[in-house]
Symmetry: C2
Subunit: 341 residues, 2 copies
């Protein structure tokens, strides 16, 4: 079946394609085209099963109604859920989304940005990997609107939507303090990124404010691309090294947390009896774990909504004086059973 174009409709009706275009884009009234003609055009378009070619439209108007979304990994439930919210919100406004998983690699995200910049998207929502500052700056120069999510670069003046990681981590750690845990460890990943740095700082501040002695041995910083085995080793070291081992662990991501639960189980340690835990994020597994996990749940729906709102406002009104909106949301602390009752 050959695709039908504006021209085909025009010829069939013996009118110009200008007219057909006008009618079909709803500008019939505006241009005072007679109702009869309008009706006829719409009817024939339907009959011929006309589908406007968005590529042609895009070339002409410079708009694609497509947004590029670059996240670490769509298979990671955190990003999967966040991606879903963003997709949903964009769809409401008539935008579609091109997903790209960067695997937290600056190289990949660079390629992806380059690719999407080739005239295919109207804007970006990006969770930038570390060392991608230059890419973000080049995006700035390209004049495409973009908003950062989950993390940002303090030295770059851009729009972003994040949560208050430091406060959330502080609160979670304080919860362990109030539960009278004495040896509170933190297992986190490389702190190059501002969100991870803030989480670690929140933990440190909470302990300091509670009069705990600083103990670097209680902090395990894993390499960026960490495996199950790294977490296992970290926990083993924690348990062995300190006199009475540890009695509680703060995991700064759910990926690490899930690996942590597996590792604890392998070591024969029971949550919370032997070791209590709190974590970031709220995957399904935290709910059906034998000791449902007390955790910091990020407001994914709000993050998605705000990111889309900020981005679209910049796309629709590029000359607006409201630029580089910085939005920091609060996370929810969900108390379950992993710190005892």
């Amino acid at each position: 079946m050959k695709k039908v174009s504006l021209n085909d409709i025009a010829q069939r009706l013996n009118v110009s394609k200008t007219l057909v275009s006008l009618v079909l884009s709803g500008k019939g009234k505006e241009h005072r085209i007679s109702d009869d003609v309008c009706k006829k055009v719409i009817e024939v378009a339907k009959e011929m099963n006309y589908r406007p070619n968005q590529i042609a439209k895009g070339l002409r108007t410079g708009k694609t109604n497509t947004i590029g979304l670059i996240i670490a990994d769509i298979a990671n439930p955190f990003f999967g859920k966040l991606g879903r919210e963003i997709e949903k919100e964009l769809a409401k406004q008539g935008y579609r989304v091109m997903f790209c998983s960067s695997d937290e690699s600056a190289e990949k995200s660079k390629e992806q940005i380059e690719m999407l910049l080739q005239g295919q998207v109207d804007g970006f929502i990006i969770s930038p990997p570390r060392n991608s500052e230059d890419q973000i700056r080049s995006l700035e120069r390209s004049n495409k609107p973009y908003v950062l999510i989950d993390r940002y670069f303090p030295e770059i003046d851009s729009s972003y939507v994040v949560i208050d990681n430091q406060e959330a981590a502080y609160k979670a750690t304080m919860h362990l303090v109030h539960k009278k845990y004495k040896k509170i460890a933190c297992i986190t990943i490389n702190a190059d990124l501002v969100n991870m740095r803030d989480r670690l700082n929140g933990y440190k501040n909470a302990l300091r404010d509670s009069g705990y002695e600083a103990d670097e041995n209680l902090i395990k910083i894993l390499p960026f691309s960490h495996e199950n085995n790294d977490v296992f080793k970290a926990i083993k070291e924690l348990v062995g090294k300190n006199k009475n081992g540890v009695d509680a662990i703060f995991f700064t991501t759910s990926k690490v947390g899930i690996m942590g639960i597996e590792s604890l189980s392998k070591l024969g340690l029971v949550i919370p009896d032997d070791v209590a835990m709190v974590s970031f994020d709220d995957p399904d597994s935290y709910k059906i774990c034998y000791s449902p996990v007390t955790t910091i749940a990020q407001p994914l729906t709000d993050i998605g909504k705000m990111a889309v709102k900020v981005l679209l406002s910049e796309i629709i009104n590029p000359m607006s004086s409201i630029k580089n909106q910085k939005i920091t949301l609060k996370a929810n602390f969900i108390i379950r059973k992993s710190c005892g009752s």
Copy 2:
């Protein structure tokens, strides 16, 4: 920063844009353009930070190098992981992907197909919701290559990549039989879709072949859009109704399975002591559950690879006689602890 076009480069060098186009698309040699000129063009293109406009190219060539992926929900870990594999595989071949979540709604998927059909994608990978037969047929008429995944319509002759659901379900149920469970229930969802029908049949066949009496009371078919509460009710009925309740449950999806674990826990039932379970799919939570779940893991990487391979072969060679490839893969049965040891 204004976008630079082929023309800008041509003017700067006082050559035609034909020449620039030829050189930059690597056809310099082929057209015997002098090395000097080639070098110059490439140099200037780089210097001017030229990025070919894919939209224009797409309009001219009719190819976008973009594939539309329609799945139920990208936030569902099963589809998230599968989507990731597909993305990875397509990227290798220079294709990008447009994700759409249909929420298993035929209406939404119709809209999404319509949208993507407007000249934006070169082909489709679709996990079709029930009642979407007509859409698939209209896709057929549009002449865009597509491949179905996870399920298919027996009455439509199309390409698809699925697993042998009936065999997998048979095997899982047999596992329960061999473990000497006597009251083996099945909690599944609406069997309109062939994959769900096959899973239920696999269960029934296994029981029949084992000399179990057919008992419709042991089969709970949930509405398509099921909630936690539906699963809870189903389990409660199962436990209450049958003389000795049930001693094992086969969950046909991980979504239902996860809800099932929560529900069992609410009812004070311990896995596997009170009730054993097997399930389909293998989310993280099944690994760190208090009783790690014995389950049927689908070969997501292979499904993704095959789907991409089949689709691209049709895109690249539309006239090939190899059409409508039907591929059925085997699933892995992973034995953990939810059926006792």
